[in-house]
């Protein structure tokens, strides 16, 4: 990276204190850039302002709206817009980096209000949607202000090309690969084990599909065990499990980063039966970096992350029988499992923050050519003058 220190404004559309892929991406990127000596300010909807780090500016409390088959905690409206404008006017930024600017959120508002070097990152990978075609003409002039576009996966790029007729550079989300590189193989978690990490109570994480597949797997691999890690009330879930299968389950609760590394090295298969609503699948990248053999549903994000099955096995999404079939295949074939895990581990190094942030930074450099910083866009300047808010 060059020595020039930049003032960078990041906009995160989703509630900062709710867990999610986009949020952790923004957080990690912000912290990486700060560690390189840049000035970074993140604008995001925040529920609890006291617990958020210094670099976060709150745009207000997020509201939950159903969007794209999931509940999105976003924020918009006149008050949010005023805060966005104020943040841009006072921030004196060299560059804005907007995340997911094509959904109704403060990212879109920031894109509307600002002028100058702007980079947009598109996370979502969705199938063709009529709704987005309908709002396309409204979004077009706004999205077209972005100097450069980044898509986090091939699937996200295709979504963008299809819906908004614009191209993007693919730069994946980042992970700290070295945290997962040297996990220990622990006896308590190895053997014929299937690992699962995530908020298992959420239906879209697909634990129920694994539950349906388990009787079939158990018939072929009698000693199979399922290890579930992640926050949530496991008693309630355990009650719904068939009593005959209950002893195969072990709920580990929330685990630390170190435990996660060991977990990923130990389990025979890491399974991700998600049914959708996944933008990138950062957990899969982490699992690959940890040397796990990954088995995932073939939703667009996972399919693209796993190189269409090259670096991990895929099964047809929401099909428990297919999940069982592939899992049995893998449990029986040690050679294939080792092969996948070795290839996956090498491949996962490209998701390391050192690589990813460098790529993002070189996009920043290109966006900065011939610019003199971010200002409120001319329409908004006129509007502010009209309302007597000059110099705001």
């Amino acid at each position: 990276m060059t020595l020039k220190k930049l003032r960078i404004g990041l906009v995160c559309p989703y509630g900062w204190d709710t867990p999610g892929g986009v949020q952790s991406h923004v957080r990690d990127l912000a912290e990486y850039l700060i560690s390189k000596g840049h000035y970074v300010s993140v604008l995001a909807p925040v529920i609890n302002e006291e617990n958020s780090p210094d670099y976060v500016t709150s745009a207000g409390k997020p509201i939950a709206i159903p969007y794209n088959g999931a509940v999105a905690r976003v924020l918009f409206g006149p008050i949010a817009f005023a805060r966005v404008r104020q943040w841009i006017a006072n921030g004196n930024f060299d560059l804005l980096h907007l995340h997911e600017p094509a959904i109704p959120s403060i990212s879109l508002l920031a894109c509307w209000a600002a002028e100058g070097p702007m980079v947009g990152t598109f996370h979502a990978a969705a199938k063709r949607q009529k709704a987005i075609f309908a709002i396309g003409p409204i979004l077009e002039p706004v999205i077209e202000k972005l100097t450069a576009r980044i898509a986090v996966s091939e699937a996200a790029r295709e979504t963008l090309t299809e819906h908004l007729e614009t191209d993007a550079v693919v730069i994946p989300n980042g992970i700290y690969a070295d945290r997962y590189r040297d996990g220990e193989v622990l006896a308590k978690w190895s053997g014929n084990t299937i690992g699962f990490i995530g908020r298992f109570e959420e239906p879209r994480k697909g634990l129920s599909i694994l539950l349906d597949a388990l009787p079939i797997i158990a018939r072929f691999a009698p000693d199979v065990r399922v290890l579930v890690a992640g926050p949530g009330d496991h008693k309630e879930v355990a009650e719904n499990i068939d009593p005959q299968l209950r002893h195969r389950f072990e709920f580990l609760g929330r685990i630390s980063e170190k435990e996660k590394a060991d977990f990923l090295s130990s389990v025979a298969i890491y399974v991700a039966p998600n049914t959708g609503g996944e933008s990138f699948g950062i957990i899969l990248a982490e699992a690959l970096a940890g040397g796990a053999t990954v088995l995932a549903s073939d939703i667009p994000a996972f399919d693209s992350l796993l190189g269409h099955g090259q670096y991990g096995a895929l099964f047809q999404s929401e099909n428990a029988q297919d999940l069982a079939r592939v899992a049995i295949d893998l449990l029986r074939d040690d050679e294939k499992r080792r092969d996948l895990s070795r290839k996956g581990k090498d491949y996962a190094q490209r998701f390391d923050w050192d690589v990813v942030a460098e790529d993002i930074y070189s996009i920043y450099e290109m966006a900065l050519v011939g610019s003199s910083g971010v200002t409120l866009s001319s329409e908004n300047r006129a509007w502010n003058r009209f309302l007597g808010r000059e110099g705001n």
Binding site: E115, T147, R149, M366, V369
Partner: protein, 167 residues
Amino acid sequence: MEKYFAIAFFVISAIWYLSYSATRLDRLHHRVETSWANLDGLLQRRAAVALEIAKSDIADPASSLLLTAAAHQARDAQMKARSQAESGLSGALGLLLNDGHFVSGSIEKDLLRELSELTDKIRIAIALHVDAVNRTQMVRAKPVFRIFRLAGSAPLPVTYEFEADVL
């Protein structure tokens, strides 16, 4: 009376829309120019690196001659002949580097690394520029923009033909 209000409202919104569209197009032209400036800068740097490679031990006398000629051509080329000249330089670099001979010496390795970093950046810069040009052409083709001549006297941007595969 109401009719006049309606007409006034219509006229004002039409004026607003036209001014908004003109700003939009102006911004696109700006994007075309800055993305070109970026690409141009990177290509100039590549030509400079190519000249250094030509002078270094990596190149044999014959390739050195070829590379020097191509690099100078790329630097001097006028806008129209530019993409052809740059493709020529890509070809000359490709000829030299793709035969896979072993490169020793830290200066040479640095040169080659710089070249490959530049090549990656150029690839992205081309994508950014092409996207800006396509967008602008698309917007300028719309009836509103044509009828009201919102582009003014700005020349229609041309796509930079660059064969990405020779990079």
